[in-house]
Amino acid sequence: MIRTDDELITKKQLLEKTGISYGQLYRWKRKKLIPESWFIRKATYTGQETFFPKEKILNRVDQITALKDKLSLDELADRFSPLTMKRVTLSADEAVARHIVSASSVSYFLKAGHDGRSLHFPQLLALSVLDLLLSDGRMNAGESEELLQVLSTHGPDHFDRNSCLYFIRKMGVPAFFIVLDDTELYFDRKTHIVAQLQLQPYAEKLAAKLNGSIHKEDLPDV
């Protein structure tokens, strides 16, 4: 999903600015070169309009137009889509050596009894999210197992569905869950939302890292 304070651009502005046609935009959407979640519907005084997160979409259109003569649309989709990264495996040592995940989160992972010889995409994603939450101190190492578990069991199939990871605490007891699609959640007063992470941007970033491609999109702060 898109943070509400991202600067937005209308579909018309996007087409004007980039010179692409409606046909191209819809084709790229069909081929999943542009994620569904970037199409933001909003009511305006002229009726309903579609907006895009400005920086992300301009960046993405630049990349597609630069590469589309060299690569087929399917190859491009592979490049952008975390879903196609399912077949990637790295050993724990490799992942650390390539700076994809930190050594400390890998050690928690191994300590919890997981096999470190071949890490799949969901596990790599789980580890990089773990890195993030541990490094800014919102989570402690003892809680990592639950996070790893929910992400590796339920995360992989839903990257493209605006899934959002919630980390809540009530009376000091942590809980992790994943919510599909863009839904509002309301909690009681004593429940604290420690972190709320949209998984898709992280998955894309990780896919780009694994591809070794340069990805200028910065991850949103959480």
């Binding site: 018309k12 409606y22 046909g23 069909r30 009726g47």
Partner: protein
């Protein structure tokens, strides 16, 4: 899937009337009336008569001649409907051909879809090519590279269209109806928004059209047209506002 060392997959065959559990098969054939209770995965599936699958279908080719109901998703390389069918969830196919009537409660994704008769989709349809002769109803987005619609068999309605090229042609009414009632207006198409590069419309009612080359043929009623390169409108069509961008 199954262990390759084990014996080869069995065929599923219902002739007459029968109920069978789902599972993995090589060829599945229902002739007569059959019900599959659960998900089925097979190389080919052929239903002649009436078939009901109470689950998902994952197959190479699915052919339904007669009437079919699938309670779940359909995933296939090719889907052919001759007769009437209903699919309760999403359809992902490379090629889809409908001769008769197909109702999809979810969305249709694929490379090409052709419908001669009636195609009704509660979600979106996204294909590279879409050819329709007859009635088309899409409650969501209808997105394709090339869309060709020849109207007929009742009023068509689409929420949104996004495409490179769109051709909507008036259906021709012939036979005794014409002799009886004289010239009658064929079935129309109603759309909220059309966005595309090259657009040709007949008998279409639209709120907003965004296009590069826009040709409004006979029998259209359009609120606003925004165009980039060229615009033409037939005399008997009404367009309230035209804006060159």
């Amino acid at each position: 899937m199954t262990d390759p060392d084990k014996k080869p997959l069995a065929d599923l065959s219902i002739a007459g009337s029968g109920i069978t559990p789902g599972g993995i098969y090589r060829k599945a054939v229902i002739s007569g009336s059959g019900k599959v209770q659960g998900n089925i995965s097979c190389a080919t599936m052929d239903i002649s008569g009436s078939g009901k699958i109470m689950g998902d279908v994952d197959t190479g080719t699915l052919q339904i001649s007669g009437s079919g109901v699938v309670d779940g998703d359909v995933k296939a390389d090719s889907l052919t409907i001759n007769g009437t069918s209903r699919i309760e969830k999403d359809v992902t196919v490379a090629e889809c051909e409908v001769n008769g009537r197909l109702t999809i409660k979810g969305s249709l994704h694929g490379e090409s879809a052709r419908s001669y008769g009636q195609l009704s989709i509660d979600g979106d349809i996204e294909t590279e090519e879409l050819t329709v002769e007859g009635k088309l109803s899409v409650a969501g987005l209808c997105s394709a590279d090339r869309i060709a619609i020849k109207l007929g068999g009742g009023s068509s309605a689409i929420h949104e269209i996004g495409c490179s090229r769109l051709n909507v042609h008036r259906g021709i009414v012939t036979g005794w109806m014409v002799q009886l009632f004289g010239k009658i207006r064929g079935a129309g198409l109603t759309v909220d928004t059309i966005e595309g590069d090259e657009l040709f419309l007949e008998d279409t009612e639209v709120q907003t059209v965004h296009g590069s080359k826009v040709v409004i043929g006979a029998g259209c009623r359009i609120d606003k047209v925004f165009y980039k390169e060229s615009y033409w409108c037939a005399n008997d069509s009404q367009v309230r506002a035209v804006v060159k961008e």
